[in-house]
């Protein structure tokens, strides 16, 4: 039973994408994929798993969809026709096999949809998560999540959001939206901002799976490779990031037990970083991945090449000038030039509402021996942090301050 569920989840996006292409209707595709699972759960335990389970699921789902359309076409053919997704691009042989999932993810992450709807649709239609699972992951009632997804699908049909890979001129911007959705899913799993658990493995592993699909579909896009590398190198430190047990405290990079890092993920991440940077078109995810490659390259925190980290953040700031990048650069500067120099950089940043700004200031002030100021900064960081493990860590550091 568990094996069937796993195969189904692996194949779900492909089945939905293929049926959407054929029938031009997301609801038909989604429902038929669901029905195919029921058939599989009935047949496979008795007959065995077919040699090509993905092909079997697609064929079964296609038959179900045709049955449904025949039934409904008697009733309201016009209504069905109106809901068909538009794809007026001529079907040209392109030489490469274009995976329908690529069309599907661009439709799900269309900028005309609300960001939270993009995330939900991607997890539902491409990831094969149930509405209940997505609702649980984002801690909203199931009915709210169901409405969000239904509304987004209605807009796709009603506004004629196309089911295709964008034109070359739109591709970079649209791809950013897709990568941002995957990164957002990962980050919500990696530093959960809601709920009691500091991490949600379901979301991080799903984000890595989506990033793998994107990289496979877009091998020439260095940012797709960069994103996968970034997620792997971040995820590799997962088990060392929180103290064991419920309410486990956050363990900072410097204090982590590096023998607990996942070597296989680190190896793969390093290979991917080298591969994408060799293409000579650096971008946000590639540079963040490179920073993480530097960290995971050091067997001990004292071996960290901080000048390399600072240089990468300088490069990142040039293409993505935002104060959070500057904050991270300042952390590296603290190791190179001391906490006083770093504090001056940090104090200039307009990040008063950001917990990490206060946490960074608190740490720098502590190192400068300014306990009173550090205590106030820890208090602000604790007040703004929504992650229980981080709150526990910051509280301990605050309480360890000398008078």
């Amino acid at each position: 039973m568990e094996a069937i569920e796993r195969i189904y989840r692996e194949e779900f996006g492909r089945v939905v994408a293929s049926l959407t292409r054929r029938f031009g209707d997301l609801d038909v595709a989604e429902d038929a994929a669901g029905e195919a699972l029921l058939v599989a759960l009935e047949r496979w335990p008795a007959d065995g798993v077919p040699a090509n389970p993905g092909g079997w699921l697609t064929t079964t789902a296609t038959r179900r969809a045709i049955d449904r359309i025949r039934r409904e076409s008697h009733r309201d053919a016009k209504h069905q026709a109106a809901l068909m997704l538009h794809d007026e691009t001529p079907h040209e042989p392109t030489g490469v096999v274009e995976d329908d999932r690529l069309r599907l993810i661009f439709t799900c992450c269309h900028p005309a949809l609300a960001p939270e709807a993009r995330v939900a649709l991607t997890l539902r239609l491409l990831g094969g998560l149930t509405v209940a699972e997505i609702a649980a992951a984002f801690l909203v009632p199931e009915t709210t999540m169901a409405q969000r997804i239904t509304r987004a699908k209605k807009k796709i049909a009603g506004a004629h959001i196309p089911y295709r890979v964008p034109d070359e001129q739109d591709l970079p911007a649209r791809l950013d939206a897709v990568l941002a959705v995957v990164f957002l899913v990962f980050n919500e799993g990696y530093l959960a901002t809601s709920g009691d658990a500091p991490m949600r493995d379901d979301l991080t592993s799903e984000a890595i799976r989506l990033a793998r699909i994107l990289r496979a579909l877009l091998p020439d896009v260095p940012e797709a490779t960069g994103l996968l590398a970034l997620l792997l190198l971040t995820d590799a430190r997962r088990t060392a990031r929180f103290a064991p047990g419920a309410g486990g405290e956050l363990i900072t990079l410097a204090e982590q037990d590096r023998s607990r890092w996942d070597r296989a993920e680190i190896r793969e991440g390093h290979d991917l970083v080298r591969e994408c940077l060799a293409l000579g078109r650096p971008g946000r995810y590639q540079l963040l991945a490179a920073v993480n490659a530097v960290h995971t390259d050091a067997a001990d925190v004292r071996d960290t090449d901080w000048s390399q980290v600072a240089a990468l953040y300088t490069q990142l700031a040039a293409i993505d000038p935002n104060p959070i990048v500057a904050l991270n650069r300042a952390v590296a500067i603290a190791e190179l030039d001391g906490p006083g120099v770093a504090l001056a950089l940090v104090d200039d940043l307009p990040l008063e509402g950001y917990h990490a700004w206060h946490a960074t200031r608190a740490d720098l002030l502590r190192r400068l021996g300014r306990s009173g100021d550090a205590r106030a900064a820890y208090d602000r960081a604790i007040g703004l942090s929504a992650n229980p493990g981080e709150v526990a860590y910051l509280t301990r550091r605050r309480d360890q301050l000398g008078g």
């Binding site: 016009k78 506004a159 196309p162």
Partner: protein
């Protein structure tokens, strides 16, 4: 093909901004909108377009009761109101969004894109 309504809405901030424009700046906007209209027509996407007179020119007619009632002023008290619009033909939302981007630049204002209901097939 589908039809899309490209609406240019104004609010008090827009009004203040427009009031401060010099005649030369206004000429620039008119010329840009003219050029955009020409492009929409040449590409075969044109259905209709127009700029509307100020909100004070509005009259509301209500003939849902026993007697028609005619009142001065706009339908709803709202800070935002429709200032002008285009109706275009486009193959899908992406094509409509490309027109909206050009239109927004030309008229120096935000453009709201709304699909028309599909006509029932005959």
């Amino acid at each position: 093909m589908s039809q899309y309504f490209l609406a240019v809405n104004h609010d008090p901030a827009d009004e203040a901004r427009m009031a401060e424009m010099t005649p030369a700046q206004m000429q620039e906007v008119f010329a840009a909108v003219d050029a955009f209209n020409t492009e929409v027509k040449e590409q075969g996407a044109w259905v209709f377009a127009g700029g509307l007179q100020p909100l004070e020119m509005s009259t509301v007619v209500d003939n849902t009761g026993a007697q028609p009632v005619i009142t001065d002023g706009p339908y709803a008290e709202s800070k935002e109101y429709l200032g002008g619009f285009w109706i275009i033909e486009a193959s899908d939302l992406d094509a409509a969004l490309v027109w909206a981007q050009k239109g927004s630049k030309a008229c120096a204002g935000k453009v709201e894109v709304r699909p028309f209901q599909d006509e029932p097939e005959a």
